[in-house]
């Protein structure tokens, strides 16, 4: 796989954003959140294999809360 320099990646992101239709741009943050949530919950399941789905969701909410607190603590 070819590794692009960082400014080339930024350029690619800008060009992709300009080309994206309005609806995709409007929904992108929620779609990306769902993707990130899925990965985070998979990580929680791996870390806590004994946890029920309800417990995994609660742990995910705790992680989101921790993230907000870390952000506020800047």
């Amino acid at each position: 796989m070819e590794h692009l320099p960082v400014d080339a990646l930024f350029r690619e992101k800008v060009l992709r954003a300009r080309a994206a239709p309005a609806e995709r741009k409007l929904l992108a943050p929620a779609r990306l959140f769902e993707y990130a949530r899925g990965i985070a919950m998979a990580g929680i399941r791996r870390q806590h294999p004994e946890a029920t789905e309800l417990e995994v969701r609660e742990l995910f909410r705790q992680r989101m809360k921790l993230g907000r607190e870390l952000e506020r603590g800047l």
Partner: protein
Amino acid sequence: MLAVARALDAAGIAFMLVGAFSASFHGIARSTEDADFVLRVDDLNVGALSRSLGATFRLDPQVKLETFTMGSYYTIRHLDSDFSVDLFLLKEDPHDQASFSRRVLVSYGAGNVYVSSPEDLVVTKLRWSQGGRRAKDISDARGVLAVQTPAQLDVAYMRRWADAHGTRELLETLLAETPAI
């Protein structure tokens, strides 16, 4: 997010989508766990809006205060996804008022949504970036400046508000650093 926009529209409440969703619309998309709306409403009918949203949403009837921006807001949680939506009440603040009057109508397949203008998004992001220390605010502003290009933006408007908010130096730095693509 669009379900909330539709419910607000149906209730006849003037609104504007701000924050990460606006930044993603005008700039480079990023993930966020919540959507922020600004509402121009005298008295929010929480019960009616709650009913209009349906059973998969929970609207907390208690109004909260955001201590940093001093904004009053309600929170809606989407029960299936943990995604939340904050409904901020439009403040008397001169820039908030100007921003709302310049909101942009976006039409998509299923309807219309108003979002903050790219200029007002940048001005707001710089204002609340704590002197540039909140990385995501700076990253959002840089993304908007790069995607929209300074030629497509009302730079004089952004400079006026940046002067008023004490963020002019930060704005000039971002404008100078933004690559022409």
